[in-house]
Amino acid sequence: MYSDKVMDHFEHPRNVGEIDNASGSGTVGNAKCGDIMKMDIKVENGVIVDAKFKTFGCCAAVATSSMATEMIKGKTIEEALALTNKQVMDELGGLPPVKIHCSVLAEESIRAALEDYQKKHA
């Protein structure tokens, strides 16, 4: 039911962890629904130079977190804000329909981390 790319990111998730003194961080989702995502980003000169995540959730949640961190690295704040869950899903080769809601969290966690950054640097 999962694509090879999803399985690869689930089995070998990229960028798991936390960033000390992160420029911005955001936590979305809740344990009741079975998905929580925490995203840390490091921004230098308006560019995201590092991103790390921690996720409590299913295979799709882990894979989308992992892929999302890969996709925002090297992007400007504006570019990262434009990232959608659909783009993350497409990059993963799609998700089963019942799992699409899991991918929304990846987009939301990035947005939360970026908003946190913007608040700190307003």
Binding site: G34, K54, T55, C58, C59, A61
Partner: protein
Amino acid sequence: MNHKMIYLDNAATTAVRPEVLDAMLPWFSAHYGNPSSIHAAGREAKIAVETARKQVAAAIGALPQEIYFTGCGSESDNWAIRGLADVAKGRHIITSAIEHHAVLHTCEYLEKKGYEVTYLPVDEYGFVSPQAVKDAIRGDTILITVMTANNEIGTVEPIAEIGAIAKEAGIPFHTDAVQAVGAIPVDVNAMNVDMLSMSAHKLGGPKGVGALYVRKGLRISPFIFGGAQEHNRRAGTENLASIVGMGKAIEIAAAELEEHGKRLTKLRDKLIGGVLKTIPDVRLNGHPTQRLPNNFNMCFRYIEGESLLMRLDLAGVEGSSGSACTSGSLDPSHVLLAIGLPHEIAHGSLRLTLGLDTTQEDIDYVLSKLPGIVQVLRDMSPLYHMDKAKENA
């Protein structure tokens, strides 16, 4: 793959036993008669069906004429409840909160039709209280339905006590024994049950065939209208080979019940004990001893069940979980919620159900892999990090 797959999902389905398959094969093409036909081919098919009926009846202490073959355990549950509701005078049904969806969704359907249903709560182990059943009985109660053993957490219910209460009150008592038959002793008279649902593929038989026991004299409406099959109550040409397979499978399972029960209980306890010893922040779901011999169900805090299942699968172990992501809904298992678990803990459940071919080495292998897998997922979990930081503060 560097390791053979270890199948620990026998509560979902079992392999057809080789002796069962051998017994079934001739009935596909060599002997393909319709049991309703008058000629020789029909007569031998009829005899095969009736032999299977005797085998099923013998396994649960019933009479052959009290056994009706169905298409599956869910059909048996649907038929028992709807069939009884159709003819009974009264509008109230008593059941439990932890029943299989085949029972729960049938009850919900009847609620829409104007029936009232009491869903009895269970305690932390998943036990239904016989006293609570007694207290729930009303003047218009038409049926009590409580499962013999729970499919998720393995809890074996006090069926004989509930049966005695139902008998005293004169109310028909149905039990879903799909997980129990072939696993623990089941006797319809000792348990005072009036209807009992069974399924072949849970006990070494084929998929697509089940049976419903209906006590002689109890009236329920027919489930399928048509020919005279199954005493005019469930029409349709019999699933001949599968019925033969169910008879054979249940006969063997009943004969080997004690031996396998002892062996599986030992392996199960080794698995539970091993996990409790090597992995912190876990909890056993269901009762430590009053549970099916092959059932392991535990919650692993801070992690989500589907991730755990997939990692186990990658390591060569096939199990199941009651997390939302595996149920196809947003809520975790209704059974785990009913025993009082908060959502976040219920999401992290793992069920492993042992089978005939499960070995000591299989259990050792699982115990060697599980702690590492759990730790990888916990290291990835923000919940684990937050809680541990709190503990260290």
